[in-house]
């Protein structure tokens, strides 16, 4: 499990810092699969399977939609200040949450009642996905003079 987590962190960092879009995508795919693996090991079978299915879909859409962008990454010099500021902010957030993290229950309650089928939630989540698809279709539509995306 620890190995998976470490690999996940590495993959995430590669996603962000890589200069090449294809490498970022590959790293993202790897990260997604690792997440699925972690979910599986945590006894969450259904989410793991769904996640595994979601990864190729997302990667595919990313590749198709963004393949024609230029390779240039905006220059990195100006990133020092925001980087430092955000790291400081994050550090402060972590410190102030220290007590919270410490008291987080180690053995989380595993309510058996949770295994009832929460239909409304599934319907809701399904609707969210439908909304995203319809929204994407609406945004990608072509009008006179526009490119089809």
């Amino acid at each position: 499990m620890i190995v998976l987590i470490v690999l996940l962190m590495i993959a995430a960092l590669i996603v962000i810092e890589s200069r090449s879009f294809s490498i970022s995508l590959t790293a993202l795919a790897t990260a997604g699969i690792l997440v699925a693996a972690i979910l599986w090991l945590a006894q969450a079978a259904l989410p793991a399977i769904l996640q595994l299915a979601a990864v190729p879909i997302i990667i595919f859409i990313l590749a198709r939609a963004l393949s024609h962008r230029p390779k240039s990454d905006p220059p990195a010099e100006k990133e020092i200040i925001p980087t430092v500021a955000s790291l400081v902010f994050i550090l402060l957030a972590l410190i102030s949450n220290y007590y919270l993290f410490r008291s987080f229950p180690v053995n989380l309650p595993q309510p058996s009642a949770l295994h009832e089928i929460r239909i409304m939630d599934w319907i809701g989540a399904g609707a969210v996905l439908i909304a995203a698809i319809i929204g994407a279709l609406a945004l990608m539509r072509k009008e006179e003079g526009e490119k089809k995306l």
Partner: protein
Amino acid sequence: MILFSATILFLIGLYAVMVKKDLVKILLGIILIQFSAEIYLVLLGEKMGSTVLIEMAVAILLIAIVARIYDRFETMDVTRIRELKG
């Protein structure tokens, strides 16, 4: 342990969103944040898969938005996508 990994993953994603100027990187950062939310929820024992659907939905719509923005603005540089006054 899992909480730890979820948090770190979230922070990496957050770093990307806050710091990077390349819209694509911001987008990927959001997806990483979504992944971390998945792990976070499973950590809590919420073993339903419905959250994966939401994660996908967010990713899909954001990709569509970013693609259309690139089409309109011809740049992926966030500092140049600033037509509206604050």
